[in-house]
Amino acid sequence: MQPILLVAITALSLLLTAQAAHTLYLMIYTWDQPDSGAMAGVPDERADPSLSFTVIVPARHEEKVIQGTIDRAATVNYPAHLVQLLVVCSADDTGTIARAQETIDRLNAAGRQDAQVVVFDDGPVNKPHGLNTALRYARNDVVAVFDAEDEVEPELFSIVNTVMTQEHVRVVQAGVQLMNYESNWYSTFNVLEYFFWFRSRLHYHARTGAIPLGGNTVFFDRELLESVDGWDEFNLTEDADIGLRLSAAGEQVRVIYDHRYVTREETPPTLGHFIRQRTRWSQGFMQTLKKGTWKQLPTRRQRILAWQTLAFPHAQALLGLYLPVAIITAFVLRSPTIVALISWLPVLMLAAHFVTAVAGLYEFTGAHGLRASPRTVLTMAFTWLPYQLLLMYAATRALRRQLMGVGNWEKTAHIGAHRTPDTQSAATDSVADSTATDSADSTATGPAANEEGATGRAS
């Protein structure tokens, strides 16, 4: 029995080390590449506006932030007649509808056309269904998706217009960045995850041709989107899913990351929200893995990358389950020195990830004109392991939900912590009413949206 256990420990340790090393490399990929500037950069000169955009903002219980988002989207640095604005809400979300309508009425009164609230009253009540509903009202060349709490960067449309027309790409993913890195103990790492994901890792995915797209600040050629029937309404990470479907179809994706033009967001306000969000992402990846779109990718390299990315939450969950076993084994099992040394390799990789996080913190703060203090680094040292445990817990939770067939959308609340006072539309009132889990919107049992938007209405 013991030899089998030792072989298993060695194999698992080597596997985890390889996985961690590869993930680490993806985190620093663009910094490591001599041509990273060209890979991620924004064109220095802008083309004349020629493409028209439809901005879709799906919103659910976003009374606190929706008005600011609409105002910002409506005042981007791009000709107004080339921008259609659609806010999409479920009919039961009367608060958000009222706030959004109020702002849109004001815009209409000021002469702004093509802004409207799209309301749907069928299910499932989730983001992909909202997006698909709004897609039927979209009539411009390019569909842009933003979340309700996003600070839409005014220059972005001009940049995407330039990229799409000059580089002849039909999908553009622009950077999204959480900003409130010192809000609480987990926010630093959460901010850095976004930073490494959009600043580095996605570029590797794009170059390889197997990219799980982000949920917002993403731009699609409308006809392309319609040709793949929009988003998967039964997938908790419909963004990753559509990215892989488009990759499988051979579509090249351009990723832009420039600190000046990122969409700024916030970390979930409470630990509970963070866990629910992370659970949703992990479960969404599990769903996408099970769905098997990755198998349709043309090359083995693409398939391996996609599989590895989608299977990561499984590995994380198994690691979470394995951890207590490992601790018990460390005390009980007497292993040969070489096995013991190998079993420490994943810990070395964990340390390497921490080093990367600290360097990343200084990169992030330096790029955004912020200042990282040694105190933050010290806090990170103490919270690094708990954060990893948190991720393992969320992945384990996702695995349990997945195995039990629970697939409802656990919504993340937004309070506008990433916004500066002048851009924050709402005051700092309680967010209790917007932080509840939407347990009713079960995507597992909801009916699929029918054609022609029969249940959607624009107001």
Binding site: I28, W31, D32, Q33, P34, S36, D44, E45, R46, A47, D48, P49, N77, P154, E155, S158, I159, D258, H259, R260, T337, A340, L341, W344, L348, A351, A352, V355, T356, V358, A359, Y362, E363, G366, A367, H368, G369
Partner: protein, 551 residues
Amino acid sequence: MRKGQPAVPRDDQMQEQVENSRPPPEPELPVSTGRRTRAGWVALVLAMVIGLVTHGYNAFRYPLYLTDEGIYTEQAWSTLREGRLSPYTYFYDHAPMAWIVLAGWYGILPGQFQSFGNPINAGRVLMVVVHVLAVFLLFEIVRRFSGSTVAAFLATFIFSVSPLAIYYQRQVLLDNLMVFWVLVGLYVLARKDGRIVTAMGAGGAFGLALVTKENAVFLLPGFAYLMHRGVTGHLNRRFSASFWWFATLSPVAAYLLFAQIKNELFPAGMDFNLNSPPAGHVSLLYTVWWQLHRTAAGSQGSAFAELLRSSWLPRDKYLLLGGTVAALAALLLGLGDRRRGAPLIGAAVLAIGYGFYLGRSVLLDFYVMPLVPLLSLCIGLVYARITRRIKPTAAALVAVALMAGPLATPGGYLLKYDQFHRLVGVDQYRISLTDLQHKQIQWVRDNVPPNSKMIIDDDSWVALHEDEPKFRNAHSHWKAASDPDVRDNVFHASWENLDYVAMSNRMRPAMEQNNGGGQEDWILQAIDQHGEQVWQASKGNVELQIIKINH
């Protein structure tokens, strides 16, 4: 907005835009990016051939197999044959990377320890291979940092022909492998392609140097300086620097972890008392503590000044004096031009750092070896700097003149006067000393029963334990004197349990020097009071004996 019109950032983004939009600053380390010319290729190949010939020719016959060569070969033997780091108790006197590499080398050779006759010969072949690779690395380091092929050739020429280099670099020593990893690290650093994995690779190589021989730590300031100056101005400097340090420290951490896993990191009871070593088990940190407090008196080492006068300067005064001047000049020239002078400063700090170690430590004479490539590096870089304004042809001619001096001068690199005042070639290409050791081993095989209890020196250990018949009770006098497993369990610290003593050259003074606590008394008593010389051979001042202990 019209085509060609620049985007207008918000005011609060101006600072960021400036940082993002400006071109990356010029890297601080000047680097030759030019491709190697045909003459450059010829120079490189010639340098490597010189390295191969000077180190390979006569390498099996000169110098004598040294005790330390024997120790590392027997530890490689133990690694390969027994899966242990030493046939005796490993007490962390050195990190094990070198003999793990050596074991790997023996492992891939078809004949393993018997590939080239005496087992140490195969190790010496590895040293020649390592030297030729080191010549390539040093050549490229100098060329990349200075842009001068002539300077690169000059540096490697000295590195290959210096008698100091040949004498020690032929021997199977940890220092040679340590220097190899150092040069790999510098070579990777000199690539300057701006990649993080490059910095990581450089750090990893230096980390391996640290666990090959710990005295590499004295090269850390120079190495770290070169790395930090190298990444300055790069957009990924934070990652590059962080990962250089991480990769450097990882092998060291693994070494500490290894000791901790075996519960041998700390001494038993956390007892660091140097006067009474803690019983129970060996300890890495105790050994480090002990080494830090060693003094020349009563230990195996000698002081810097003594070795300099009696051993190093007589072997190669040109390199030591010229190299020291070059190191100081490199420092001054570098400080005078901080922006482009980083390689000069770095090379000088490397050499001075190691010189600092030599000046303060208890030394064995081969400890000087790492100084050879460092001084050669300084000479190469300084030569490139002072000849940068003259034509390459002129610089080459001056270099040839510089190289010809020690080559043509009697007492230099090639020629010397013998006792009859005749001009002859220098010892390293002419003399055979190891044949005495072969004869000694052969006599043992022919005349000593394999089950005899023998005291030997480490240089013959693997030959007697590997080849048939095996002499399993032949042990080093160092272990017979100090290792309880050998002293108490095999010999019971009594002359009556000893059958033969195979004396290597200068083994007797070494035993006497190692007898501060009387631990060699029982062996010396066996030799002096009960010994009978049964075999003897000598050549010059080298003398070997075999003594039979009469019961």
